[in-house]
Amino acid sequence: MTANTFLTSIYGSLGQGLLYAPVAIGIYLSLRIMKKPDLTIEGTFAFGAVIAMTMLHHGAHFMTTLIVAPIGGAAAGLATALIHTKLKIDGIISGLLVTMALFSINLFVMGRSTISAPLDTFIFAPIRAQLAASGMQSFHALLWSYIIVGAIVLVVVIAALYFLYNTLFGLSIRATGDNERMACSIGINTDGRKICSLIVSNAITGLAGALVAQQQSGANVNSGTGVLIIGLAALVIGEIITPKNASILTRLLFIALGSFIYFSCISLVLITGILSPDWTRLLTALLALLALCMPKLREAIFKKRAVEIK
């Protein structure tokens, strides 16, 4: 492994990390802020990917896909939220139902099982052409176009969320997640807040789907499979390095960093060839597990130290 390969790999992980970060943020919004796991994520991600690719296939401009894909995601989130709050179905089941329904809807939207569009219609194409024209190595230009687009979209998403979750309305969403009964008792419409939370998280996931589909140059009905665990791993890695008592802005930034670290780990495994790619899913699960039990480990270590000091 040469230094150049290693560097290229890091650029690659950075780009993928930034493009997948919105998924981790979407999971954060539902799992951590609303304290409700949302399985719609996989369906929504594929839905966003399929919408974007179908639009590009039929000649739409890439900027319009960045608007329509989140709307599609939001609609899926709304469906889950309505099933959950109005029909009183368990959150996990509602998510599964919507994911299953989206499978058929995706096939209907595409009109076939896979779809792609010309490369120069993708959001990355103009930036990549610009970078290549300025004399950058062509593979690096490709990877940097992912990084630049990913960073811009992420900044917009994080800024919007920071703004939303610091308004009175946003605070009431956080209150609903923290203590639903208390929130209800002070007159917050908790069902409404849950619906909004799911709409926002799924809209962001739909957006990520649209971007990743363009990075992968195509979409199919299985585009969303495995995304949930990738997002979860990125989220927990990010949380473990987040300083205590951090603001929501810092938390979101660290989640994006977690996503980068996750993809770097996978890249390192693939580049050194120490493990067959078959094992990368197990590795992902172990990384997530390690990050999840880190607070307990930390507690145990600190307690021991405290005893020693005594």
Partner: protein, 354 residues
């Protein structure tokens, strides 16, 4: 609560009842299908198909280009052969869309519609159709399957055409493209999905005929497209790799544009010729393919089906493609895009140039 229990009980009784009745009904049709198979030429069992001499159910395993080519190949040949004998055949086409449960359901539908023969495309779909065909006594003819013996598909009621490539031809093609024999300095990256049976089998067969350690496997897991970018970084970093070979691997051939994008984006000296095992995929960003013409593969299955239905003879063995039956497709546009010069001999003898 009590109401709910009653409701559940009623629902359960209805379900069991309906299932039981359906079971009986199916048993009946199986018997009659047996009868009609013996006297197939005298009358057709399906009243809706009164004017046809034969009804053939076509089960496609998934929406993939290979199957979409195999189907007209089969239908056209069989219709032609039948017409020459003054017979008429009708086709019922169903696609399982990659869902194993759906394959079984479709096969059952065929049995209950008294088809005279089932033509199935794809290993999974054929395996799922086999028990139904066996129980109903309907002959099963399959097409576009890499390894019928390994998949347990050579039985008393099933036979068909295999699409297994003679691997020596693939090595010859790769050597012609890279301009020299495969050795430690001239190696090939084998890009595949590690848990797709067809791909793993192809890897073993290709490595079996190639010089040792010249076929380097680069695998991604199922739904592992996020790994593909890193693999291309690795391929670019190994200067002994001079070409990329992609087997009949649905995940990768279904995302050829990503492969094309990553390959075209490499630095000029590391843009490699991509060889695929599926002819239709050449147009989507590969350089060349020397492979089975799926339409001809479907036609070969139609010959077998005709023998079974009309002549009443069962073939000695399933059909296997030979080196002479393969077609060569090349993509001059892609070659130009990556700055690769195709050998002129290859351009001259190509069956199709994109």
């Amino acid at each position: 609560m009590k109401k709910l229990k009653t409701l559940l009980a009623v629902a359960l009784i209805i379900t069991v009842g309906v299932a039981g009745l359906a079971g009986c009904a199916q048993d009946d049709t199986y018997d009659s299908t047996d009868d009609t198979y013996d006297s197939a030429q005298n009358d057709t069992p399906d009243s809706a198909a009164g004017t046809y001499d034969f009804t053939v159910g076509i089960l496609s395993g998934a929406h993939i280009p290979a199957f979409e080519l195999g189907r007209p190949g089969f239908e056209d040949r069989l219709t032609g052969l039948m017409e020459a004998e003054g017979l008429r055949v009708q086709f019922i086409y169903q696609n399982a869309g990659g869902d194993p449960a759906m394959s079984t359901t479709i096969a059952n539908t065929f049995a209950s519609r008294h088809v005279d023969l089932i033509f199935s495309m794809g290993t999974g779909a054929s395996q799922q159709a086999l028990p139904v065909a066996t129980n109903a006594g309907i002959p099963l003819v399959y097409g576009i399957i890499t390894d019928p013996v390994g998949a347990g598909l050579v039985t008393d009621v099933s036979t068909g055409s295999s699409s297994a490539l003679p691997m020596e031809t693939q090595i010859e093609l790769l050597e012609e493209l890279t301009g020299g024999t495969l050795n430690a300095e001239n190696r090939v990256a084998f890009l595949y999905t590690t848990d797709e049976d067809n791909s793993v089998a192809s890897l073993g067969r290709l490595q079996g005929v190639a010089p040792a350690d010249t076929i380097v496997p680069f695998g991604i897991p199922a739904n592992g497209l996020d790994h593909l970018q890193q693999l291309f970084i690795n391929i670019a970093a190994d200067p002994t790799i001079r070409a990329i070979y992609i087997p009949q691997d649905n995940q990768i051939t279904g995302n050829m544009q990503m492969v094309q994008n990553l390959n075209r984006s490499q630095n000029p000296e590391r843009r490699l010729p991509v060889v695929v095992a599926d002819l239709p995929i050449v147009a989507e960003g590969a350089i060349a393919s020397l492979s089975v013409d799926f339409s001809a593969n479907g036609a070969a299955a139609a010959d077998i089906a005709f023998d079974i239905l009309v002549n009443g003879t069962w073939p000695q063995t399933f059909y296997s493609p030979t080196a002479a039956s393969l077609s060569l497709y090349i993509n001059a546009t892609e070659a130009e895009a990556i700055g690769f010069v195709l050998p002129s001999a290859m351009a001259d003898r190509a069956n199709r140039t994109f």
